[in-house]
């Protein structure tokens, strides 16, 4: 094997209570393209930001070119020939390309000579790598593909020998991505080392020499790309979790409660996240949406629950349309019997600074049950909160406690209790058991199935395959914003894994 360009030894990094990287070891051979895959939140960006000196590891060592290196700031990394193209571009939007390129790498105190030098150097890089870009263009007027090119040029301008790219293709069209890959191959031919982070397995197979898989902050495996398969990588990425299967009977699907038709959603950058999706959700069934995180599930959920603007399509709740301008009145949707347990409970589902009892009625606080004239009926609210605490086994069982002081799993139960106890006709749940311990998972699954048995329509979005398989009566798999397949609950993990990796779609396209 070639000499290691980079060696990471025992890297640990926590953000508050989140352990983003645990004891990571990684070796990257010089002159190769090394892929790092993993779901969103697996800790890929954190690891690379540590290598780039943007974050400081809590413990661990970094060796560059065989020698121990102390990388405390990006400056140290740049001096060692490490360049990084961040997931969220680090560009000054209203600066020109040239200004962005020289920022931090100016040759002296006045700009004139730096700019002249950068202009000629840019010319050379352009010719050498086919990285064309107008040096005087303003960043915000450039399409994302070109902005990314500026980021690459920035790294090369600083003499990067090791180039890290963090999810570079997330914002690119397939044609732009292909061009990027040609550039990366060319860099490799010139002896540079490339680290490519992505969660798209197709890209890994197409371009990398080696691939490492991360899951929940740990490095689970490193493989030679030629000796692994998409299926194996998908399985490593998602991981198996021992999960007790909850017994459930046959579904008795009834009338259509929620009808999604040709729904298309774009994100703020104009990238299509949900691409022409249609499906029905019936009373008395649980439909699960599976997929690797970041394939449009979050946007789909937000559009259905009326908090994100949809470009086109319609969503009918009990035959009547939902406002898809992104400005739907959530109170009205609740009145119509749509309850929503958001994926991101910290930001959307709870006010962490509130007491538990306040959060347990949040959004339903105008309900006459909780009111005494124009005032909140504190006694009724407390009684209601205690009732939910008992029923959902929320611990500690103190409705006066600040919500921030509950563990993640119990916070999730607070939200679930609030939404489920309103007896909605349709329940939409994002990541029902993210961060929840195993005991609570089983409990939450039981409640969801009980809701179904009472004839409610339940839509579950989860990145946990086991959860989808154990809950769902029908499984829809999302990939790149589309539903790429529908399966029954008997579908195997391997089969779903391939669908999630977009393999079937790709084969169909060939």
């Amino acid at each position: 094997m070639a000499q290691a360009a980079i060696e990471l030894i025992g890297i640990n990094k926590s953000f508050g209570a989140v352990r983003a990287n645990r004891d990571i070891n990684l070796e990257i051979a010089r002159g190769t393209i090394h892929g790092i895959v993993g779901e969103n939140g697996a800790g890929k960006s954190t690891l690379m930001s540590i290598l780039y000196g943007f974050y400081q590891a809590d413990s661990g060592e970094i060796h560059v070119g065989g020698k121990p290196a102390s990388i405390k700031t990006p400056n140290d990394a740049i001096a060692l020939g490490i360049g990084m193209v961040h997931q969220h571009f680090m560009l000054v939007d209203n600066f020109s390309v040239l200004e962005n390129i020289i920022l931090g790498a100016e040759s002296d105190a006045l700009l004139k000579s730096s700019i002249a030098k950068a202009r000629s150097e840019l010319d050379r890089l352009e010719r050498e790598y086919g990285l064309e870009v107008d040096p005087d263009a303003i960043i915000e007027e450039l399409p994302v593909g070109l902005q990314q090119r500026v980021e690459i040029l920035k790294a090369l301008y600083r003499g990067a020998e090791i180039l890290i790219l963090d999810e570079p293709t997330g914002v690119l069209t397939p044609a732009e991505a292909d061009h990027l890959f040609r550039i990366l191959k060319q860099l490799k031919e010139q002896g540079k080392t490339v680290v490519l982070i992505t969660h798209k397995l197709r890209e890994i197979m197409a371009i990398t020499d080696n691939v490492s898989v991360m899951r929940q902050g740990t490095m689970v495996a490193t493989r030679e790309t030629s000796k692994t398969t998409v299926g194996e990588l998908a399985e490593l990425m998602v991981g198996r979790r021992v999960l007790l299967r909850v017994e459930k009977g046959e579904a008795e699907a009834g009338a259509v409660k929620l009808a999604v038709k040709n729904l298309t959603v774009k994100d703020s950058r104009g990238v299509t996240m949900v691409d022409d999706i249609s499906f029905d959700l019936r009373a008395g069934e649980i439909v699960g949406i599976a997929g690797v995180a970041g394939n449009g599930q979050s946007e789909l959920l937000e559009a259905i629950s009326g908090i994100r603007h949809a470009v086109s399509g319609s969503v009918m709740l009990d035959g009547k349309p939902i406002d898809l301008t992104g400005a739907a009145d959530p109170g009205e949707l609740r009145d119509r019997g749509l309850a929503h347990v958001p994926e991101d409970r910290h930001h959307v589902g709870l006010v962490l600074a509130f007491e538990e009892n306040e959060n347990s009625i949040l959004g339903y606080h105008d309900d006459p049950r909780y009111l005494k004239g124009p005032f909140l009926n504190v006694d009724a609210i407390m009684a209601d909160a205690k009732d939910k605490i008992e029923k959902y086994d929320i611990r500690p069982g103190n409705p006066r406690l600040k919500t921030a002081n509950f563990s993640g799993g119990n916070q999730q139960k607070i939200v679930l209790a609030r939404e489920m106890e309103q007896d909605p006709g349709v329940l939409i749940v994002g990541q029902p058991t993210r961060g929840v311990d195993v005991g609570a998972i089983e409990f939450i699954h039981k409640r969801l199935i009980a809701m179904r048995d009472q004839g409610k329509a339940v839509l579950v979005v989860s990145v946990e395959l086991d959860e989808i398989r154990s809950l769902s009566d029908r499984i829809l798999v999302m990939f790149a914003g589309r539903i790429v397949g529908e399966r029954g609950p008997e579908a195997t993990e391997g089969e779903l894994g391939l669908l999630m990796a977009g393999v079937e779609r790709q084969e169909a396209a060939l």
Partner: protein, 323 residues
């Protein structure tokens, strides 16, 4: 000819009145361009004015006064930096606190040191910055048109007035032609870009605040050592806030800032000049209205008559990379 002389006189006082605004406005420009909102321009000017007048009268030197004004004002700017850069505090709260401390401490110290009800002793010649009369100013005074313009408008101002106007092209040059300026503008737009480029965000912002402190110090010195022969309590009288309005009006650009400050200075000058005298058609305008005019205009301008004013994008937000 009377009208012409009157106009020249109004313009002359326009220049005098706009100088403290201009210095404060450029001061604010440095900090806001670096992403730190500074509502404490007012307070820094006030401590500068006090320190300048106090030191000048004790040491009998205008330049020691100016130096002291700058020193103390920079010290206050560093307090703002410590709260809002190092400790990532709320920039508005920190700025307001500085204004209160300035208002209170100048009165208390003034009374304790000089026992004149919060004033500093009247400055003697040599302790003030006196008017510099340009060569030939008196000789050409009677030449029509050019004479009064040269003698009144161009000649006969103090050193600090010329300094203030020279600061305009200088600020522009620093901002758009130097490495420091490039980084300063960048850190106000996207501090993460600066950080990943290997530059310290905190140190850069501290340096911007030092520039702010120097300029507010000069502005304060101008108030107590040029416009007025000594310090009077609360003598900034809201100029720091008007300067902030001018900064927005100027869309954070130095040359625009000069014109905005001249406009506000002109309104002020016109208000003083026209007090009590009847205007054609409208008749006699109440004094209070004339005095309120600059503020009314500020509100109208800020309410959107200047097109979209986009502040530096990272303005007001502490830079935190680990949540």
């Amino acid at each position: 000819m009377d009208v012409f002389i009157a106009i020249v006189q109004i313009l002359d006082s326009t220049i005098r009145l706009s100088v403290p605004l201009l210095l404060a406005c450029l001061a604010g420009l440095f900090s806001e361009r670096s992403g730190i909102f500074d509502i404490g321009l007012e307070g820094k000017m006030l401590v500068g004015a006090f320190a300048g007048a106090a030191a000048a009268s004790v040491f009998h030197s205008a330049f020691i006064g100016l130096g002291m004004a700058i020193l103390i004002s920079v010290a206050f700017a560093m307090v703002h930096g410590f709260a809002s850069i190092t400790h990532r505090g709320n920039q508005i709260v920190s700025g307001v606190a500085i204004n209160f401390i300035a208002a209170g401490s100048t009165i208390i110290l003034g009374q304790a040191w000089f026992q004149q009800g919060g004033r500093t002793p009247a400055l003697q010649p040599g302790e003030r910055f006196d008017a510099i009369v340009w060569p030939g100013a008196e000789a050409v005074r009677d030449v029509p048109i050019i004479g009064p313009i040269y003698a009144e408008l161009i000649s006969g101002h103090s050193l600090l007035v010329y300094l203030a106007f020279l600061m305009v092209p200088f600020t522009w040059w620093v901002l758009f032609r130097t490495r420091f300026g490039l980084r300063l503008r960048a850190v106000g737009e996207n501090p993460a870009a600066v950080d990943t480029a290997g530059i310290s965000v905190a140190w850069l912002r501290y340096r911007a605040l030092i520039c702010t402190g120097i300029l507010t110090g000069v502005a304060g010195a101008y108030l107590s050592m040029v416009q007025n022969g000594g310090f009077v309590k609360d003598m900034t009288a809201g100029k720091g806030y008007i300067a902030l309005a001018a900064l927005i009006f100027a869309k954070w650009k130095p040359v625009n800032a000069m014109f905005a400050c001249l406009l506000f200075g002109f309104l002020d000058a016109a208000a003083i000049r026209l007090q009590g005298s009847p205007l054609p058609i409208i008749g006699k305008v109440p004094v209070q209205f004339m005095q309120a005019l600059p503020y009314i205009l500020t509100v109208i301008l800020l309410a959107g008559f200047i097109g979209k004013a986009i502040p530096p994008r990272a303005g007001g937000v502490p830079y935190v990379k680990e949540r």
